[in-house]
Symmetry: C2
DNA sequence: ACTGTTGGATGATAGATAACATCCTAAGAG
DNA sequence: CTCTTAGGATGTTATCTATCATCCAACAGT
């Protein structure tokens, strides 16, 4: 059943979109090609007309997931001040909502550990993604370039670690403690901005 | 080939020890029962004489892995000051060595994200493990109980996030930036100790 | 006899291919 | 420019092989 060029592109898009979510929900090894294609409304056989391998799909879906992070960064709107943008970003990142819905959240927290043992291509996408986040944060901080990057990296680390730890523990009290202490630190870091 | 009672206990111990390492190296879904038993010097068939299920094994191995973290915390020796103990812990945690050898490192950074979607039993072990680390750090900080726990939670978060992010990116420069900025922050946090 | 180990069996599921049906697209004829 | 047609792109179903967790019967040391 050959489809039109647009239909094909749309299917590709749907696979990547659904995949970017499922990848964050279930991890790389936890997501099967069959489940992925079913989520996209297709059957598993057609997968390899869109991707050379599962790994190639993971690369594309990872890019899409980091693109979602970019959207999350712009939640405060482009007209807001740097401080407001940072606050909106870290507030959402460190929210219970983000912890509860990994599928729409940060790929680093969702499957960064798995990506560390993935192919070089996947790691390259993560490298670019992490670099992008650090740069975006650094642009919104004050001070000399080097210090801004250092503080941006620290901010990313607290956020990622807090969400990973908060998701791993079951107790609500511990989750709150971790998230709120991280929120406090990100607020401090973002305090001195232009 | 029946073995003595001690040999049986020793085998159990070997499975758990080898498993605690492999679990951190490959993740829960990335580790097969057959590989695990082979690493322990046994064949796959006997696994279920030691554990009711793979999940039960993951629980025990997770406890063992957190036990390894406790050993890592005592690297500075019990005679050192609180500040020295904290510094030794965070210095190792945020070292290239720890990033390069997940098998002997922190289970939260290694498979915390996977644990978040694991069974309630596994999550309970993580809860206890994380609580233990936070408590250990908090005991070595100064100030009122509540603030100590907050700072301890923040410290754990930066460390976990830094290692997860550092492992996920390939570039040495980015890894260094992340680890060193986290080291700087843990040093600040540990500065005011008794 | 009991119990832990072995090696193999089992059924499920994984990623990846193949044969086949469909029908879009581009090239050439008029 | 329009119509036709050959060829290839795209999706479906069925299937392959490997591997997974789990279980079991036979063996062997206590």
């Amino acid at each position: 059943m050959r489809m039109s060029r647009e239909a094909m592109a749309q299917h590709h898009q749907e696979i990547v979109t659904a995949g970017a979510r499922l990848l964050r929900e279930r991890g790389i090894e936890g997501l099967s090609v069959a489940d992925l294609m079913q989520a996209a409304g297709l059957t598993h056989g057609g997968f390899y007309r869109h991707f050379a391998s599962k790994d190639a799909f993971v690369c594309e879906a990872t890019d899409a997931a980091f693109g979602g992070v970019a959207g999350m960064r712009n939640a405060a709107g482009p007209d807001s001040s740097a401080g407001e943008q940072l606050a909106a970003f870290s507030d959402f990142y460190l929210s219970q909502a983000h912890c509860g819905e990994p599928g729409i959240g940060c790929p680093i927290a969702a499957y960064g550990a798995e990506a560390a043992r993935a192919s070089g291509e996947v790691r390259a996408r993560f490298n670019a993604g992490v670099e992008g986040v650090v740069e975006w944060i650094a642009e919104r901080l004050d001070g000399p370039e080097v210090q801004r990057r250092r503080r941006a990296a620290e901010m990313l680390a607290v956020m990622v670690g807090a969400v990973v730890a908060a998701r791993a523990v079951g107790s609500a009290g511990l989750t709150d403690l971790i998230l709120s202490s991280a929120r406090q630190r990100t607020a401090e870091l973002a305090a001195a901005v232009h």
